[in-house]
């Protein structure tokens, strides 16, 4: 008994010494991830688009090309009643703009304490994303594409930076403005106190003429919880097999209706990189004050 006690004291002593050495020599290499925890989105930016939802035909301020404008015009919201569309989650190129608690956590190798991955999970439609932090390469071009894509990340100081490929064809706004499966995203998570800013930059050689840059804000919550989000599709509207709801080729009715509602010139709502610039507004004389309509 006495021997055992002595042995355990010895082990305890060396473990303690090891811990001290670890703090002295290993500490700086184990960068701390400051974004961990439960976050709630705050909607100071773009509330109308993000929470109630965007108007059909509103493409203002987005660097879309002519092809994407046509995709938006063709899009019929009834598409979302098609069973195969009902349970689609937001892709990572949109989800951080959406609603629902967001949880961010890390996984480290238990022996080396090296950071393997950071995961994010957004409650709505259970958007679960993995950001690999272990230096692994992106998979070959023929690998499957997913809603959240394949992300690799690094810490620049305490900013988490992720790069994402292998995205499924998704969307940049919930009114039919699509994103191709060739799109890539670089996003950054900045923590300042109990707030976090998420900045994302999407590039798409198919549908965007310039990178799309947006920011989303989050607030830390102390005792966050995450509910599951089950989804099973069902036939909501009986249709002939294979029918796909869509608007007619070249139908711009949605944009016209939106422009009229807000007393805007049609070209102001049709989108394009130039519509994101302050100079774009200067070419229009102030019409009847549109602010009152909000």
């Amino acid at each position: 008994m006495a021997i055992k006690l002595g042995l355990s004291r010895n082990l305890g002593g060396s473990a303690f010494a090891g811990l001290l050495l670890g703090l002295l020599f290993n500490g700086p290499t184990q960068a701390q991830v400051t974004q961990l925890g439960y976050w709630l989105p705050i909607y100071h930016e773009d509330f109308d688009e993000r929470v109630p939802g965007p108007s059909a035909g509103d493409y203002a301020g987005l660097p879309i090309n002519e092809a994407l404008r046509l995709r938006g015009d063709t899009w019929d919201p009834s598409l979302l009643t098609v069973p195969e569309h009902q349970c689609k989650p937001h892709p990572s190129t949109y989800g951080f703009r959406g609603i629902g608690t967001t949880r961010i956590w890390e996984t480290r190798d238990p022996e080396t304490q090296q950071l393997i991955k950071i995961e994010t999970h957004i409650e709505w439609e259970a958007q679960h994303r993995v950001i690999w932090m272990d230096g692994r390469p992106h998979p070959p071009a023929s690998a499957p594409h997913t809603w959240q894509g394949f992300s690799t990340g690094k810490l620049e100081g305490d900013v988490l930076v992720a790069y994402t490929t292998h995205l499924k064809a998704g969307w940049i706004r919930r009114n039919g403005l699509a994103l191709s499966d060739q799109a890539t995203m670089t996003d950054r998570f900045y923590r300042h106190g109990n707030l976090m800013t998420h900045v994302y930059v999407i590039e798409d050689p198919v549908y965007l003429s310039e990178p799309l840059v947006r920011t989303n804000g989050f607030q830390l919550v102390a005792n966050g919880t995450m509910a599951p989000y089950p989804c099973r599709p069902a036939v909501e509207i009986p249709r002939p097999k294979g029918e796909v709801p869509h608007h007619d080729f070249g139908d711009t009715a949605a944009s016209q209706e939106f422009a009229k509602q807000y007393n805007l010139p049609l070209e102001a709502v049709r989108g394009g990189a130039n519509t994101a610039l302050p100079e774009f507004m200067k070419q229009f004389r102030p019409a009847a004050a549109p602010a009152g309509q909000r």
Partner: protein, 351 residues
């Protein structure tokens, strides 16, 4: 299933063609140029410098792998009983593909080769694959029987065989050694191999008139052949019985078969004829696009627009950045023409 040999099938085809009055006597035409014949001289997909091509193998799920090289995707199912191969790319790729299959399966023999259709970028390695393998045979069949010498069993829909017989003596002819050794008729043929149900599902008049999708029920992987591709608009080979309506039927059939996991992702995996590994969500996106384009062109035809007017309206232009082509063997213009013709002839309904 007809357990018939190539030669007897060929004879039967010749007889049936003669009986229906189609004067396509392959013997008489010999090696003369194919002029005014049914077999259209479609340029095959460009053949790369095969010596530079590496084969990449990816495990898809369960016992099923995808091999990429040059030509259509190759699907390989590996198990205790041997190897089943779907499609064989171009002939010069066969040894590289075999080397990769050896890595996956050791010295287990290739038992079955399945042709999703008869295009040269999918059947070119048939002979090499077949001869490297061996069928399971016994009973009355001995080694000196042609079934013992042939190697693995090569299965295709009978229309694949018919087209190969028709093309004999033309520049598009498939060497007889690459022909199927067995064909099936009707809409389905079932195998059970490597402890797994393997279903050969015929899709009429889609990419060609002889398309087969192969469904590995336990691994939950569907290998579609060229009725579904991710690298362009669907190639509708009208000279070989393809149609836009058949393509849409095939795409909707894929959606019937596939069951996604939670959140419309994963679950049944789909190996396209060309391009990347997919799941139902990817096929939905493609099906939606092809349906929308078909509907647009149908509306234009209903308005009385001719082909030139339809082309000028550029009814695919919102998808061309991803799927269009202005050069090569299958251009956007050719796709529009095929859809136009299908809609005009009533083969575009996709019902």
């Amino acid at each position: 299933m007809h357990h018939t040999l190539s030669s007897s099938i060929r004879l039967a085809v010749r007889l049936s063609l003669a009986a229906t009055g189609l004067v396509l006597c392959t013997v008489a035409l010999g090696a003369q140029p194919a002029r005014g014949r049914q077999v259209q001289a479609l340029a095959a997909p460009a053949q790369p410098d095969f010596s530079q091509v590496q084969v990449l193998a990816t495990r898809v799920q369960g016992n099923v792998y995808m091999l990429e090289g040059a030509g259509g995707n190759v699907t390989v199912q590996v198990g205790e009983q041997g190897v089943l191969v779907v499609d064989t790319q171009f002939a010069p790729m066969a040894d590289k593909l075999l080397a990769e299959i050896r890595k996956l399966a050791g010295d287990k023999p290739i038992r079955f080769v399945i042709d999703t259709h008869g295009h040269p970028d999918h059947v070119g390695g048939n002979e090499r694959m077949r001869r490297s393998g061996t069928a399971v045979f016994g009973g009355n069949v001995r080694n000196d029987d042609p079934r013992g010498e042939q190697g693995a069993v090569v299965i295709a829909h009978e229309n694949v065989q018919f087209a190969m017989v028709k093309a004999e003596g033309t520049p598009q002819a498939t060497p007889e050694a690459n022909w199927p050794t067995e064909t099936y008729t009707g809409d389905q043929y079932d195998l059970f191999f490597n402890d797994e149900a393997v279903q050969l599902l015929h899709q009429p008049a889609a990419h060609t008139d002889g398309d087969t999708m192969v469904f590995f029920r336990k691994s939950d992987v569907l290998s579609t052949g060229d009725v579904f591709v991710t690298n362009g608009y669907p190639f509708i080979d009208r000279a070989h019985g393809g149609s836009i309506g058949g393509i849409l039927n095939a795409l909707n059939r894929i959606l019937d078969i596939t069951v996604p996991r939670d959140k419309q992702e994963g679950g049944t995996m789909v190996i396209p004829g060309h391009g990347r590994i997919c799941d139902e969500g990817d096929v939905v996106e493609y099906r939606d696009m092809i349906t929308i384009i078909r509907d647009r062109i149908a509306a234009m035809v209903a308005k009385g627009m001719n082909l030139e007017q339809v082309r000028a309206a550029r009814p695919t232009r919102d998808y061309d950045g991803r799927y269009g082509a202005t050069s090569g063997f299958w251009t956007t213009d050719m796709f529009i023409e095929a859809v136009y013709a299908g809609v005009r002839d009533g083969a575009g309904a996709g019902k």
